[in-house]
Subunit: 440 residues, 2 copies
């Protein structure tokens, strides 16, 4: 039997590791027989040599089986989740999950916190007074069963190998390796006890994947490995050049998601929510086509059933359900400072990365995992791409506690807008859904 | 200033690191600010992306300055050392160093122990009763000054960064990276306080470098970086397809080295010693040409001055100097078991790797650094390549404590000989020196 070092050397030399070798490596890392310095060298070798679909699937399964798999067999409905690779202004989960649940597909969702320029669903939920993202597995299963949706944070019991390996990758420049990204995402999602998964692979300046080919490669790997694990999986590539929707922050994003549940909201945010939701309904078997799914979701909005499910979920998780009817109950910053355009022209770009980083600098996000966030602050855009603005017209509003806090962010936010005096608004806004990957 | 992780990512992406960045990385590893798992990921990135000559030199200097540099300024003579990349039957240091010292060039030599299939100079020296390879720096300098040569083991104070990094490389499949090999060798050798260095880069089955192009690449990198550090450096590529000389073990190799000092010894061993030694005399400035150096070395043999220097060094290091005049004082195994040829023909190959591994299995070497070695046991070859042998003629003699200990090794040793019944002995024996790398 090959030694663990020989397995690292084999991967370094481009060999395909066998399923049992990959399982041994992950298990040995769990017991300490494979030291962190060996795992990080292996991750770097994988960065350079890649992994086949079969190796990536084996890695995913080995990481999945390093911990518990939630048993949701007591939930009679089909269970489908959504995962986004992360972006700026991405509050889709908050409106999507209740709408999908309202259409008859259960959504057992385990989300993360914001880090770096990307926000996190848990931080947005916690803007709701009393909302508890830490539910034990029994409560999680009960709420999914009774309400149709429950949104919680990662527990140490699910895919602990991913937690260990991700911590290493983060400090060894081995995050950007598709097989490792795939195994990290899917090992956690498969641990949720789901039947299907829709992946939102973001593309552009504000996303982890900067180009469509990169994003497509990741999406294809995710779909292939997810299906190899016996799940129904599809992926959408969606635009993340500009922030999604109009708000970047926590409470203001929650408010914006609630607007979508009430039939309002920015067109790109609504389009993204409907596209991902209809995929979930198709995978869940309650809609025959995406068009049919979209109709069902629209009906859940107009009937108020989506908003009602969100209220019930908030209540079940200890939060204040009245925010759904009255978003002014969410935390609010004392001051709103306008950022004005200094010229007339057409907004041709809004830099998602810079907006994300600025919101972090304002306190809405964190640069280290142990930092707290300020739920009230954030950036609210007043216009979108391809819109004509005049000099002196507000481009954005900064939600701050003191006007002085707005000074530096205002400069950055203004810079993040590209305004072309010569351009015309005749072009259509760029589509939010760039592509789709599915083998179904 | 870039973070340490950004520096790892830069190397991963093929960038050339600046001298000060490399110094920061090595220093941070020493303080623990760069964790072992980050250093191992960096080593794997270097494995894939390589390092420029300038980067390798910076790495070498950073590792050198992680510890002390021996001050031999009190030794009036020019100081030149030799380093071999390791092979089977390589006892050259034991006869070379006293001969070179006898010719007027001081040799402050820090050597290693055997590991895996390759032997180590320290183990061979310790076959001499009382010989102490651990000398403090003051004694080392004094013996070099008085005798002209002192041979000791690595201390924790010289290039400690190399010790830490090598330990990681050994278990993370990152040994085989030329910039890391170069920095490891040269950081230790430069710490000796030498003026010049001759490198013996072994090539072939029994060597670390299996092919001439690989060996040449390593040799060129060593010479380039050594010269960048201000030293006179040259390198020879020497054959390691077959064991060097006739003996593979500890005491029997020491005996063979003493034979060379007395003007005897196998022709390949003598040729290798003269080639390396004459280079050392040229670098040391006491010979104008290699031919002149060779003459001086031959004179040191015939005059007995080389043997006398070896005696004085042994005495100065606490050992029994009478072994030089009477090698039977060295440890001897109780039994010598002959391995007979089962056919007639010409010996076309003697597998150095297999011979090395067999000697380790007999107890002459070690597979883990913490193992003890048996000084008495070993393999003594009775013929060399290109020699005609008859069926029933001895190919080798196994030095063992009990005939039963010879059974398995005898099979392996016989297999390690390739005997071709059809070949003729008309071809010349392969030259021991394959090539030379020097910019002098």
């Amino acid at each position: 039997m090959a030694t663990l070092v020989e397995l690292i050397a084999a991967k370094r030399d481009g060999a395909e590791l066998r399923d049992e070798d990959i399982a041994r490596l992950i298990e040995a890392h769990g017991t300490g027989d494979l030291a962190d310095y060996q795992m990080s060298a292996l991750c770097m070798a994988i960065y350079f040599q890649g992994m086949s679909a079969s190796e990536t699937a084996a890695l995913t399964m080995a990481m999945l089986h390093s911990g518990e798999v939630i048993d949701l067999s007591g939930v009679p409905r089909v269970k489908v989740d959504k995962h986004s690779t992360g972006g700026v202004g991405d509050k889709v989960s908050l409106c999507l999950a209740p709408l999908v649940a309202a259409c008859g597909v259960a959504v057992p969702m385990i989300s993360g916190r914001g880090l770096g320029h990307t926000g996190g669903t848990l931080d947005k939920l916690e803007a709701i007074a009393g909302f508890n993202v830490s539910q034990d597995m029994a409560s999680f299963a009960r709420i999914v069963s009774e309400v149709g949706v429950c949104m919680i944070g990662q527990t140490g019991k699910l895919a602990p190998a991913d937690k260990r390996i991700y911590a290493l990758r983060d400090v060894t420049a081995t995050v950007e390796a598709i097989p490792l990204i795939v195994a990290s995402i899917l090992s956690k999602k498969l641990a949720e006890g789901i039947d299907g998964l829709v992946l939102d692979v973001k593309v552009g300046r504000g996303a982890f994947m900067k180009t469509v080919p990169q994003a497509r490669e990741l999406a294809e790997a995710l779909v292939r490995v997810g299906e190899a694990a016996g799940k129904k999986v599809s992926a959408l590539l969606t635009d993340m050049e500009a922030p999604l929707g109009r708000c970047i922050g926590n409470a203001i994003e929650t408010r914006e998601a609630i607007e979508v549940l009430h039939g309002e909201g920015a067109s790109d945010l609504v389009a993204c929510t409907l596209a991902l939701g209809s995929e979930m309904l198709v995978l869940g078997g309650v809609a025959a086509t995406a068009e049919e799914g979209t109709e069902q979701l629209r009906d859940a909005v107009t009937s108020g059933r989506g908003a009602e499910v969100f209220e019930r979920m908030i209540e079940a998780q200890g939060g204040d359900p009245m925010v759904v009817g009255d978003p002014s109950r969410l935390p609010q910053a004392e001051q709103v400072v306008e950022v004005l355009s200094d010229q007339a022209g057409v907004v041709t770009a809004i830099d998602a990365l810079e907006m994300g980083l600025t919101s972090v600098a304002m306190g809405a996000g964190r640069t280290r995992a142990d930092q707290a966030v300020d739920h009230a602050v954030g950036i609210e855009l007043c216009c979108e791409r391809n819109e004509q603005v005049e000099a002196g017209q507000p481009l954005a509003m900064l939600h701050v506690h003191d006007p002085i806090d707005a000074e530096k962010p205002a400069l950055r936010v203004r810079q993040a807008f590209t305004i072309d005096p010569e351009a015309s608004t005749s072009q259509a806004a760029p589509p939010i859904v760039i592509g789709e990957v599915s083998t179904a």
